[in-house]
């Protein structure tokens, strides 16, 4: 175990190295590329025995990763924004074919207009894809979630996206503790499940006629529901082994007697913890609920965590046009029938800053606002 300064991208690369990935398929895109750079350095230095498949597009990157996974290897790729959109067809293939591929996504705003700045819209666009989504609040969690992602993926046989925001996380140095390789090997033993097998030839992804397709989809969704339990148990096991508890599907902070809860995911969480401390010192009963797993959506966990509060404020770094922020919409749906005021705000799109100052303003604004009918309020225009 050692502590060092790492960017989020490097933390993802160290996670991949500790997981002893066997295949990396990658096409360069900003801001995801430093993860690939660091992994190729590991390979070049002889520290990692990984086949690096260089491809001509993001679509091919995930296609190569999917093929490698079908052949039984532990497989990883990295992308963001346009790259994620370009590989979307294979994103769905990977989930439908139940392959435990892990993908790091350095969340970036989607074009048009063109932007290279952080936002969560790219991940949100894949919310129906059948991938498990984990959102990380800091670089340590990026590394830890990478390792948990492989364990979760290989247990329920679904792919996992590990989301961290471009620049805010991907390019910012933080102290990160790197776990011991031998302990990781015990936590995450290599289990190869091969579908492509020359001894037992199979036709993969054959046409499923109407009498089969729906049954396959039921099973796929069942695996997603299984993940609701597995994410928690993997998190607990990791906490026991490595001493860091990221608390399963959601994490709560100062929620015991909270009257007003802030709900968000990703980089906003670390700032929100500071805001909660500050407001608490002024006597305000404010708490924080962090959505760590966005898919499967932790509806029941949120109902439990939010059952005593009077006011919920949700921050969405994404916009689903004509509907509102994804988290705002989904938290409302999860709490249907519960007597609570819910205000949600779209903020921080395309790299617009959301610091402790903005979060505090959002909470103040929410306290003054009556219950809203939609999830389409904008903050910081």
């Amino acid at each position: 175990m050692s502590t060092t300064l790492l960017t989020g991208s490097e933390a993802a690369a160290y996670g991949a190295k500790l997981a002893r990935i066997e295949v990396l398929a990658y096409y360069p895109i900003t801001p995801a590329f430093p993860a690939m750079e660091r992994i190729s350095k590991f390979i070049d230095d002889g520290d990692l025995n990984t086949r690096f498949v260089r491809v001509e597009s993001d679509h091919s990157a995930l296609a190569a990763a999917l093929g490698a996974s079908l052949a039984g290897s532990r497989t990883f790729t990295v992308t963001n924004s346009q790259g994620l959109l370009y590989m979307t067809e294979v994103v769905y293939h990977t989930a439908g074919l139940r392959q435990p591929v892990v993908m790091a996504v350095a969340n970036r705003a989607l074009s048009a207009p063109h932007s290279r700045f952080p936002e969560q819209g790219d991940a949100i666009s894949q919310g129906a894809s059948g991938w498990i989504h984990l959102f990380c609040e800091n670089n340590q969690e990026v590394l830890d979630n990478m390792l948990q992602a492989f364990k979760i993926a290989e247990t329920v046989r679904l792919p996992v996206m590990v989301n961290y925001e471009g620049y805010i996380q991907s390019h910012t140095l933080e102290e990160v503790e790197i776990p011991n390789q031998e302990k990781i090997d015990q936590f995450l033993p290599l289990t190869r499940v091969r579908t492509l097998d020359v001894e037992n030839p199979q036709a993969v992804n054959t046409v499923a006629s109407p009498e089969f397709y729906m049954d396959y989809k039921f099973r796929q969704n069942e695996a997603m529901e299984q993940a609701l339990t597995v994410i928690g148990s993997v998190s607990r096991e990791y906490a026991q082994e490595f001493g860091r508890d990221w608390s399963g599907l959601i994490d709560t902070y100062q929620m015991e007697d909270a009257e007003h809860a802030f709900v968000a995911m990703g980089s906003m969480i670390s700032d929100a913890r500071i805001v909660v401390d500050e407001l608490r010192s002024q006597g305000q009963k404010v708490g924080l609920v962090k959505v760590r797993a966005w898919r499967p959506f932790p509806a029941e966990a949120l109902r439990q965590a939010l059952k005593k509060v009077q006011l919920i404020t949700i921050g969405d770094k994404n916009i689903v046009y004509g509907l509102g922020g994804a988290l705002g919409t989904e938290v409302r749906s999860a709490l249907y029938g519960q007597d609570v005021r819910i205000n949600s705000y779209i903020l921080g799109l395309g790299g617009r800053d959301v610091t402790t100052v903005e979060i505090k303003k959002v909470l103040e604004l929410s306290e003054k606002t009556e219950k809203q009918a939609t999830a389409s309020e904008w903050f910081g225009l």
Binding site: R98, V204, A208, Y216
Partner: protein, 94 residues
């Protein structure tokens, strides 16, 4: 009742040869009439190889035929008739 299916959507290699899909969605099938003069044009035009000559006779392989009707359209003798798969008030599958 959910079917017991493999986790990864797969089928045994060659299963498509064993059970071709055409039969499940074909709506008409060809029947060769007595005025056939054995010119064999239909065997050349059939895109699925569903009509072959065997021992001086035309033989239909209905597990390959998708019912497109090209054979009947091309037959100069009008010696091929397309018969609907569903017939009668009950719509009984042949």
């Amino acid at each position: 009742m959910v079917k017991n299916l493999p986790v990864v959507p797969t089928a045994k290699a060659g299963s498509l040869v064993d059970t071709p899909t055409g039969i499940t969605w074909r709506i008409q099938y060809p029947e060769i009439l007595e005025n056939c003069n054995m010119c064999l044009d239909c065997t050349l035009f059939c895109p699925d190889g569903a009509i072959v000559q065997q021992e001086g006779k035309l033989v239909l392989n209905l597990s390959l035929c998708k019912g497109c009707g090209i054979c009947a359209n091309e037959c100069k003798e009008n010696a091929i008739q397309m018969i609907p798969e569903y017939s009668g008030v009950q719509g009984v599958f042949r």
